[in-house]
Symmetry: C2
Subunit: 272 residues, 2 copies
Amino acid sequence: MHLATVAHAAGTSAAVLDGDVWRALPAADLSALLAAGTPVPAVRAQAGTVIDGAVPVLPLPAPRKVICCGLNYADHIRETGRELPTRPTLFAKYADTLTGPGADLVLPKGLDVDWEAELAVVVGATLRRADRPTALAAIAGYTVANDISVRDWQYRTLQWFQGKAWDASTPVGPVVVTPDELDPAEGVEVICRVNGEQVQRGSTRTLVFDAADLLAYISTFTVLRPGDLVLTGTPGGIGAAREPQRFLADGDVVETEIPGIGTLRNTVRFTA
Amino acid sequence: MHLATVAHAAGTSAAVLDGDVWRALPAADLSALLAAGTPVPAVRAQAGTVIDGAVPVLPLPAPRKVICCGLNYADHIRETGRELPTRPTLFAKYADTLTGPGADLVLPKGLDVDWEAELAVVVGATLRRADRPTALAAIAGYTVANDISVRDWQYRTLQWFQGKAWDASTPVGPVVVTPDELDPAEGVEVICRVNGEQVQRGSTRTLVFDAADLLAYISTFTVLRPGDLVLTGTPGGIGAAREPQRFLADGDVVETEIPGIGTLRNTVRFTA
């Protein structure tokens, strides 16, 4: 299944793709649908009327947790000059950090804004001190994210959070694809383009910690609930690791694509 | 005013202290009261009946953000061997990380669990790119917190989050004291005792970044809302900086006190 939160004339709705039309699911968005506790495989049976003019927006507007893994692709780790890790490097975002698949990235001018295309995992069941098989079974689906990073703030101190949690800076979407239709273990491509030029392309085959590893590890210290998001890290090719460094400019169009899921298309808009 | 969320026979209620009794405020807890938008100075007028058998519990059970400053007391910075910072080091917790003023700290055995007594700031108004005077005026009050830290997980990777976000590990409370009754700029003592032995004692006069500095700085990148919490860092005396290092043992009683606010009293309970 392809699931989404779609905007339409009367508001938003959780929705499931049926051929080339979106059918309504009984919730205002996927966060609410997952919080209501319906197991994801059962939602197709809830599909209602066709939604005319449906436009996918941020699929999960209200996760309680958005936990990100850094340094998880062998090639990206090498470009930062580090050794392969034995434990995942984790940091947090909040729901406010997220934005939609077509939203402008509105940030104050003068920041060193960089891209990080990522596969994101949507949690589908409550996980607490879960083993790997339990974590794997709890994956509701996968979506696309770009962990847009304000590098100068990220490196002001030892902790990355203040460069990673700018409001409405992390686009997510456009859809959530269920695990029966997409298996990152077989390798899905994670691609970033800036103004049409490919700047990142990696395969999830090279992930050091895969989705189930991350969910199980995180659940050791904090509960994960339906609708929570885990971002799995970015492949090589970030702007900060280039020589010379390259950051996003006002008007730049950032496309983040995972074939089999879809493409985010976000334009950078700097404010005074 | 002293505000709290109190437990009683019929559930919980936001409450205001009137002499030596707690009077009900019209919300189930302080998170809900603040989210409803009543300015804090106006809540006394909402005080209702006396609540018999009121026991303060976690005052803010549902903050959207819990943002913490590390390395903010000159003496604690020196004990970690670092220079005085020009920018606050920030990291995130979630609502799940918090627990009540008398709750047991239930953690798996075998972890290096350490104390960090802190002054916590309760946000009382929405702040977005606020200057310092605006941030100062938006402080609803102050409470006590202990940023209990799992040191071995904190230092597994570069990012502290996984050692700082164990569920129900950060006690907060017992009450929230409004700024008209407590001014950290004049210096309030932040004290931690383990089994009665004082292990930390610092004054907020030595904070590098004070409450208003932190709220203004954070609001540059993310909105703060009524009920959000900002932890201001811990003074010297943590167990990890001792020689030899000292961590908490099963049954240890951790008391965290700020005179003028109150005392948290939490017992460590290790599980198998």
